[in-house]
Amino acid sequence: MGLWQSYRLRLQRKRWRIRARRKSTQLRPVVDRTDQIRPGDLFVMTTQRNEMVRLPYFLKYYRDLGVNHFFFVDNDSDDGSLDYLAEQPDVSVWHTKGSYKRSRFGVDWLNFLCLKHAHGHWVLTVDPDEFFLYPFCDTRPLRALTDWLDASSIKSFSAMLLDMYPKGPINAQAYLPGQDPLEIANWFDPGNYTIQRNRRYGNLWIQGGPRARVFFGDRPKKAPALNKIPLVKWNRRYTYVSSTHMLLPRGLNLVYDEWGGEKASGVLLHTKFLDTFSSKAQEELLRNQHYAASVEYKAYAEVGQENPDLWCKWSEKYINWRQLEILGLMSKGNWA
C-alpha cells in the first residue's frame, strides 16, 4: 500500500472519530455507572432496540464469561428494556432517539463510547442476538483469552457470524425471556461460506450460510457479510468502519494468517431466527433503518413471507465449540 493510500485511510479514520463525537450529542446518559470501572475490566458494547425478551439471557451469558461492564445504547425502545437495563448493577445505558441508519447502524454511537471509556480495555462489541464463542470457552473465562492475546501482542480477535436457526418454521417454538436461544435455534450451515479479501482495508469479506442459501440465491453479492472482529483491545485512536466488520487502522483487520497457518479465532452464534423474527422483520421494513436500504429485510419478506424454514438435510446440529473447531469454522491457533 502506498503512502498516499495510507494517508487517505488515516484521514478517513479521523473523519469517523469526528463523526462519532458529533453523533454523541444524540446520546443521553440514562444510568452512567462508569465510575465503577477498574483498570483491566472487560467490556461489552451493544446497541439495542426493543430486545427486552433477549436481554436477560444475553446479560447472563456474558456475565458468566466474566465481562465486568456493559455499555448499552438504547435506540428509543418502548418495550421496557431501557428500564430493565437501567436497573442492572453492571450496566451503563444511554438513550437516543437519533436515526439508527444515520449513525451508520449504531457504529458512530459505539465508537464514541469506546473512545470515551474503553481506552486500554478489551471490548467486545456484539448485538443482543450474538453469542461469542472462543476456543476453550467452556473451561476458560474470557480473561484467559484476553490475557493470552495480551501476552501474544495481539490486539484484535475475529469471530465469524454463524447464523443459527431452528428445524422447521422459525415461529414454531416461542422464545421466552431468560431462555437459552440455542435451545431453539440450534442448527447451522457447516460448510458453504465464501471468502474474499478486501484489498483496501485488508479484512476478509465472508458470505454464505442459510441467508445466502435461502434468501440471496439469485444475487449472491448482496448476501450479508459474516466477517466480524468483535473483540478489540481498544485504543482511543481506533474506530470501527462498518459495523464490526472492519476497523481502522487497517492492521487490526489482519486477523487471519496468509501463509497457510491458522490464527486463533472464535464464532459469533447469531440467534436472529427465533419466533421474534417475523415481527422484527416487519418492523424493520417499515422503519427502513437498515443496511443498503434494508435489502436484507426485503429479501426476507419476499422469500420467507411469514415463516421461512432454513433447515435442510445437511444442516448441522450445534454441540459445542470443539465441533465448530473440527468443522473449520473457528480455530485454536497456537493456543493450547
Partner: protein, 566 residues
C-alpha cells in the same frame, strides 16, 4: 542436605506467595527476587505477607527486562544469598513466580538426593540445535546488543544488520563454547558456587552482559566448565510456541499435568484457581519415584505450533486465508475431474460409482445448476446447487466441497460448456487428477437432432473453449495430474485408460475391470467431422477419424456391447 529455591517474580505476587509458602513448608529455603519495576508498595506488601515464614528471604532487586542481563544478575545475587545463608542446601532450583510444583516437594528432594552430583540444566551447543526463534543463534554470542529488542526494535534490527555487513565480531573469552537451553535449571552447590566464585567471573559477566538473551546461555555455558555430571534437561516443564513465548497452563490442563509426572511446570495462568488448589494442597501420600514424562503435553503443544504455522490443508476460514500458491494444500484431499467421458459413454457415472468407492457427481459447473451425485440439490456442508451462488466464487465452491467431504474421494464431470473460471484453480491443485478425452464434446452434437448451421456454431465455440482449457492443462504451472487422450486414441483402445483411472481412484485391491461402460454408437462420426470441415469449421481436438474407418470396422462386428476383460 536439602533443596533451595530461587524464585524470580515480577507479576502475580499473590500466586508467588502461595508457591513460596509451599516450598518453605516442605523444608526448602527460598530466596525471592522481585523485579525492580514492581512498585515499592506492592513489594513491601509482598514481603510482609511472607514475613511469618522463617526460611524465606528476599534478595537485592534488579530490573529484569526480557532478553537482557538483569535476569542473570538477579539469579546470581539470589543464588549467592541462598548458598551463603543456608549451608545445608545441596541443590539450587531456579524457578519463577509462575512456576507450580506438580508433585509433592519431598519427591523432588528424594529424587535429587539420589543424584547428589547431577546438574539438571538443558545445555546444547548452538551450532547443532536450530531452536532459536528469530534467526539469531550463533550470532547472539558474537554480536553486540546495546538496543532493547522490545522498545527499540528498529535500532536493534539495524544494528544487527550493520554488524553482519561489516563483519564485526566479538571474541568469546577463554575459549568458552557457547551453549544454550532452558533458563530454568537445578544445579548442585558445587557447580553453582564454582560459577559464582570463578576468578574470571568478571570477564565472563562482562562478556555475557552484551550477549543476546544471556539467561538462556550464561549458566548453560559455564556449567559445562565445572559440572561433573550434567543431565541436559530441565526439571521444569516449560513449552514454547512458535514465537518463543511460553505456553500457559489453565485449569483444563489439570489431568495432563498430573499425568506428566513432572516436578515443576511453568507457566501457570495466575487465575487458574483449580491448578493452584489441586497442586498446592496435594497431600504427600505414597511417594512415587516415576521419571518425568511430558510426552503427551509435548504432543499437544507441538500440534498447536503446527496448527499455527501450517494449518489444516484445504481449509479457508476467517483466520486462515492463505495467499495464492501458499496454501499448503489448495484443497483438503484428492479428487478427480473427468472431461469428455460422459459424452463418450452412456452410463459412465453409475459405472464409475460402482467400480470405485468414490462419490461421482455430474457436471458440477454446469450452467443451470451443480449436478451433485444422486440428483441432490444440496450436499455436505449445506452446499447448494444454485449456479449463481456457485459462480460468485467458483474456487470456494470447489474447496468447500472437498473440505466438506473429507475422507471420501470426489469425482466430477467437466467440459467446455461448463463455467471455465475454475480451470486454473484445478490445474494448480496437486490434489486434482484431470482426465480429458479431447474433442468428445462433439459427440452430443453429432447425436443431436438440430440444424447443421447451429451445430457448426456450437462446435466452433466449444472447440475454442476446450483448446484454451487444454492449453492450461499442459501449462508448465500445472501441479495437477493431467492425462489427455484425443478421442480417436481413446476409442481405439479404451480399456487401458479406463483401467488406469480406476486403479488410481479405487481403494480396493487392484483388480481388472469386470464391467465396462457402454460406448455410445459413433457410427458415422467421421463423416460428421468431415461435414464440419466441409463447412469450413475444422475440428481437430478429437484427433484423426477417417471418414469411413469405423464403418468398415463396424461392418466386421455388431455394435459395441459390454465386454469382459480378464
Amino acid at each position: 542436605m536439602t533443596l533451595g529455591v530461587v524464585m524470580l517474580c515480577h507479576t502475580a505476587l499473590g500466586r508467588a506467595e502461595q508457591v513460596a509458602r509451599h516450598w518453605a513448608q516442605a523444608g526448602c529455603p527460598v530466596v525471592i527476587h522481585v523485579d525492580r519495576t514492581v512498585p515499592n508498595a506492592a513489594y513491601r506488601t509482598f514481603v510482609k505477607s511472607l514475613s511469618d515464614v522463617p526460611n524465606v528471604q528476599f534478595s537485592r532487586r534488579y530490573r529484569c527486562e526480557w532478553g537482557t542481563w538483569g535476569i542473570v544478575a538477579a539469579s546470581q545475587a539470589a543464588s549467592t544469598q541462598l548458598l551463603n545463608a543456608f549451608a545445608d542446601v545441596r541443590h539450587v532450583y531456579l524457578a519463577s513466580g509462575a512456576c507450580l510444583p506438580l508433585r509433592p516437594v519431598q519427591e523432588l528432594i528424594d529424587y535429587l538426593a539420589e543424584r547428589p552430583r547431577v546438574d539438571f540444566i538443558e545445555s546444547a551447543t548452538t551450532s547443532e540445535v536450530p531452536w532459536t526463534v528469530g534467526g539469531l543463534d550463533e550470532e547472539r554470542f558474537t554480536m553486540r546488543f546495546p538496543f532493547s529488542w522490545r522498545k527499540q526494535r528498529y535500532f536493534f534490527d539495524r544494528f544487527v544488520a550493520l554488524q553482519r555487513t561489516i563483519g564485526l565480531k566479538r571474541k568469546i573469552p577463554n575459549g568458552l563454547v557457547p551453549h544454550m537451553g532452558s533458563q530454568w535449571w537445578c544445579l548442585t552447590r558445587q557447580t553453582l558456587s564454582a560459577i559464582l566464585q570463578d576468578p574470571d567471573r568478571a570477564t565472563y559477566d562482562a562478556y555475557f552482559k552484551r550477549v543476546w538473551i544471556p539467561d538462556e546461555s550464561y549458566y548453560q555455558t559455564l556449567a559445562r566448565l565445572y559440572g561433573t555430571q550434567i543431565e541436559s534437561r530441565s526439571l521444569t516443564l516449560s513449552k514454547f510456541d512458535f514465537q518463543g513465548k511460553p505456553h500457559i497452563f489453565y485449569d483444563d490442563h489439570l489431568q495432563l499435568l498430573r499425568r506428566s509426572d513432572c516436578f515443576v511446570a511453568r507457566k501457570i495462568w495466575p487465575h487458574a484457581d483449580g491448578l493452584y488448589r489441586a497442586f498446592l494442597t496435594d497431600t504427600a501420600g505414597a511417594l512415587s519415584r516415576t521419571e518425568p514424562n511430558p510426552g503427551k503435553i509435548d504432543r499437544i503443544f507441538a500440534k498447536a505450533v503446527e496448527r499455527r504455522t501450517r494449518g489444516r490443508p484445504g481449509l479457508y476460514m476467517h483466520s486462515r486465508f492463505p495467499n495464492r500458491d501458499w496454501e499448503n494444500g489448495v484443497t483438503a484431499g484428492p479428487y478427480s475431474v473427468f472431461q469428455g467421458f460422459t459424452q463418450l459413454f452412456e452410463d459412465f457415472e453409475p459405472w464409475l460409482a460402482r467400480a470405485t468407492d468414490a462419490r461421482v457427481h455430474g457436471h458440477l459447473y454446469a450452467p443451470d445448476r451443480a449436478h451433485f451425485a444422486d440428483q441432490q440439490t444440496i450436499i455436505n456442508g449445506a452446499l447448494s446447487d444454485n449456479a449463481q451462488l456457485r459462480d460468485a466464487n467458483p474456487r470456494a465452491f470447489l474447496t468447500n466441497l472437498v473440505w466438506n467431504t473429507r475422507g471420501e474421494r470426489q469425482c466430477f464431470q467437466y467440459g467446455p460448456s461448463d463455467n471455465q473460471n475454475i480451470v486454473w484453480d484445478l490445474i494448480k491443485d496437486p490434489n486434482a487428477t484431470i482426465n480429458v478425452i479431447s474433442g468428445a464434446w462433439a459427440v452430443p452434437l453429432f447425436r443431436s437432432n438440430r440444424d447443421f448451421a447451429d451445430l457448426r456454431q456450437d462446435a466452433a465455440d466449444l472447440q475454442k473453449i476446450e483448446a484454451k482449457a487444454l492449453y492450461a492443462y499442459r501449462s508448465a504451472k500445472a501441479k495437477a495430474r493431467v492425462r489427455i487422450w484425443t478421442m480417436a486414441e481413446f476409442v481405439e483402445a479404451p480399456m487401458e485408460p479406463l483401467q488406469s483411472v480406476i486403479d488410481e481412484i479405487s481403494t480396493r485391491p487392484n483388480r481388472g475391470i469386470s464391467e465396462v461402460p457402454r460406448l455410445v454408437d459413433i457410427k458415422g462420426f467421421g463423416q460428421f467431422l468431415q461435414n464440419l470441415k466441409n463447412q469450413g469449421m475444422h475440428p481437430y481436438l478429437m484427433g484423426d477419424f477417417p471418414v469411413d474407418a469405423e464403418t468398415s470396422a463396424d461392418s466386421r462386428k455388431p455394435p459395441r456391447k459390454p465386454y469382459l476383460v480378464q
